[in-house]
């Protein structure tokens, strides 16, 4: 079977700055693929290009065997890629359950007339949305917080709610932008268990993360970006000892 996501020579410039230059990577099915690098290396830019927030200046993505031709961000979710955000972007004044229910939007169909007439089909769909959202809240460990407002949840819970909302779109690839940022050790451990479970249930994960302990312990493979270029790729142990990676993180004179 082919790789789930194949990025070929992705380029992105902002004026004179080469944010991504010829970045290529292959993400296999049901693996956790880490994307690391110093601040400003282009990790989030890569996410934004992949999810249609920015248009790439060059290169192409192949997703699940077909070319990914995205004109607007909402098409990415339909194709099967869901993401979370570096700065949490929940629907703050909606309940946790409603947040996850919104995630079902892309996999459901009821329109204006369905909503007004509320026929048997629409009612069944609403029940299914509700049911699925409850299951996902339970999956990430927030079953008891369904009625709480998103912004009233503790930080770690908000991160997990964002993951539940993304999972509601039934993605093949879950792209997480620093999910452990700001978490304490206990929350990080819970997150790690959750991410492993998601992978074992068959969803591929693309993970940007600064918590090296988490990345090294969790990821099956890792790519390292520095100044918009991929400088290393491979298993955690190999990447950890790569000379270029050490130089990028610690600076040349120390290496």
């Amino acid at each position: 079977m082919s790789a789930l996501l194949e990025a070929t020579n992705i380029n992105k410039r902002f004026g004179g700055i080469e944010a991504l230059s010829a970045v290529s990577m292959r993400i296999e099915r049901a693996e956790i693929y880490g994307l690391i690098g110093p601040n400003g290396a282009g990790k989030t830019t890569f996410f934004n290009v992949l999810t249609g927030v920015y248009r790439a200046d060059g290169g192409a993505f192949t997703f699940d065997g077909t070319a990914l031709n995205v004109k607007a961000p909402h098409e990415v979710a339909a194709a099967g890629i869901a993401r979370t955000f570096q700065n949490i972007r929940l629907f703050a004044n909606m309940s946790a359950l409603e947040n996850v229910m919104v995630g079902r939007h892309v996999r459901t169909h009821a329109g204006i007339f369905g909503a007004i007439l509320r026929g048997a089909g629409t009612r069944a769909e609403e029940r299914a949305i509700h049911e699925r959202a409850r299951v996902l809240l339970d999956y990430v460990g927030l079953a008891a917080r369904g009625n709480a407002l998103a912004h009233s949840l503790p930080y770690g819970d908000q991160r997990r709610l964002e993951i539940a909302r993304a999972l509601a779109t039934a993605p093949k690839l879950l792209a997480l932008d620093e999910p452990a940022a700001g978490m304490n050790a206990t929350e990080t451990a819970t997150l790690r268990t959750l991410l492993e479970r998601i992978r074992d249930d068959g969803t591929t994960i693309l993970l940007i993360e600064h918590d090296m302990k988490l990345v090294m312990g969790l990821c099956d493979r890792i790519a390292v970006l520095d100044y918009g270029r991929k400088i290393a790729e491979g298993a955690p142990a190999a990447v950890r000892n790569d000379a270029a990676v050490i130089e990028a993180y610690l600076g040349g004179e120390l290496a």
Binding site: A72, F85, R89, N93, E98, V102, T108, H109, A110, A115
Partner: protein, 356 residues
């Protein structure tokens, strides 16, 4: 536990409450008619404005798109009705054809306004919609040349009343020994439409589309990342809101028998928006309360300020209109200070404003 929860847990109480309210609403026009048919007319206009406020609430309250030109859709609906059922073009189509056409035309205008403004938010959107409202009114005012379509500032008169077969909603009629005047008949028709619109609004709010509107209001980027086609969903809000405005406009034209561009000025847009804000953005019941208050209180003032001053001072010192605007301004200021989320806010807005 609040009142609505108590009612839900006790179906007998719920049904008796519904029956009681229904009886009151059926009897209302006859009670009002005792004080004068004017009050029935005032009530009818109040219901029309409630329809408008509910329509605007979809755009402003649900989807969070500030629209200052909403009255334009009311105007489009009214002119559509007037042109298709008056001596202006000698067309006399039945209302059940024209009202949907009016709603559809307003809907098209809603999309026309929505499409170019999709990238705008907040203040910028407000300015563009304000301009749109004025453009539409000025068109009504000037489309008498070179081809006379709208009859310009003179407006269109002798518009057909709503009628079903031989049954016209204009003029009095004795049914089962009870005398139904024209306004009373319109009252019942408007009440039916209002109930339908309330049901539609409640259902929209609690639906896949309703949640998508709220998601866009909360965070557009996250909504798009969840696969919501923000362009389409926003246009849908504009189109739905405009359609309600179009229906209300058509009924207004039929009831009044005469319309002119003066009925669709900026102040009316501001008034409808005030109803939504005063009542409680996003909460259907709050919006209804706001619309009824802002429709009735000015009329009450009109009927009390003048006689009161004459009996106290022997002459009129302050015009009722001045008192009305004074109180209106005062009420809005007091509200912003003490109930910034509206008289009966939606749960969401209450939470939102309590945070800040």
């Amino acid at each position: 536990m609040n009142i609505s929860d108590k009612l839900k847990s006790n179906p007998a109480a719920l049904w008796s409450a519904v029956v009681l309210i229904a009886c009151a609403l059926v009897a209302l026009p006859f009670v009002l008619a005792m004080a004068g048919t004017t009050w029935v007319r005032v009530t009818n206009l109040a219901i029309l404005f409630t329809l408008l406020a509910l329509g605007l609430n979809i755009v402003v309250g649900f989807a969070g798109l500030l629209d200052l030109g909403y009255i334009a859709f009311y105007g489009v609906g009214a002119y559509t009705y007037a042109l298709l059922a008056s001596p202006q073009f000698n067309l006399h189509l039945p209302f059940w054809i024209i009202l949907p056409i009016g709603a559809l035309t307003a809907c098209v205008f809603g999309v026309l306004l929505g499409a170019p403004t999709l990238k705008l938010r907040g203040d910028y959107l407000a300015i563009v919609t304000l301009g749109f409202g004025e453009i539409v009114r000025i068109f009504f005012n000037n489309l008498s040349q070179p081809v006379n379509i709208t009859n310009g500032p003179q407006g269109i008169s002798r518009i057909d009343p709503i009628s079903i077969g031989n049954f016209s909603f204009n003029g009095s009629e004795v049914i089962l020994g009870i005398n139904f005047s024209g306004p009373v008949k319109y009252y019942y028709l408007l009440l039916l439409v209002l109930i339908a619109v309330i049901v539609i609004n409640l259902r929209l709010e609690d639906s896949r589309i309703g949640r998508a509107w709220q998601a866009i209001r909360e965070d557009e980027i996250a909504a798009a990342a969840m696969g919501i086609n923000t362009t389409r969903i926003k246009l849908l809000a504009f189109a739905m809101g405009a359609s309600f405005g179009g229906v209300a406009g058509g009924m207004f034209a039929a009831m009044q028998g005469f319309i002119s561009p003066d009925s669709f000025v900026l102040v009316e847009s501001v008034m409808v928006l005030s109803m939504v804000v005063l009542g409680g953005m996003g909460n259907i019941w709050g919006v209804i309360v706001g619309a009824l208050l802002l429709s009735f209180v000015p009329e009450l003032l009109r009927h009390t300020v003048d006689p009161l001053q004459r009996s106290l001072f022997g002459r009129l010192i302050v015009e009722p209109e001045v008192v009305r605007m004074l109180l209106f301004g005062l009420a809005l200021m007091l509200m912003m200070l003490f109930r910034p989320a509206g008289l009966w806010p939606s749960k969401v807005r209450r939470r939102e404003l309590a945070e800040k």
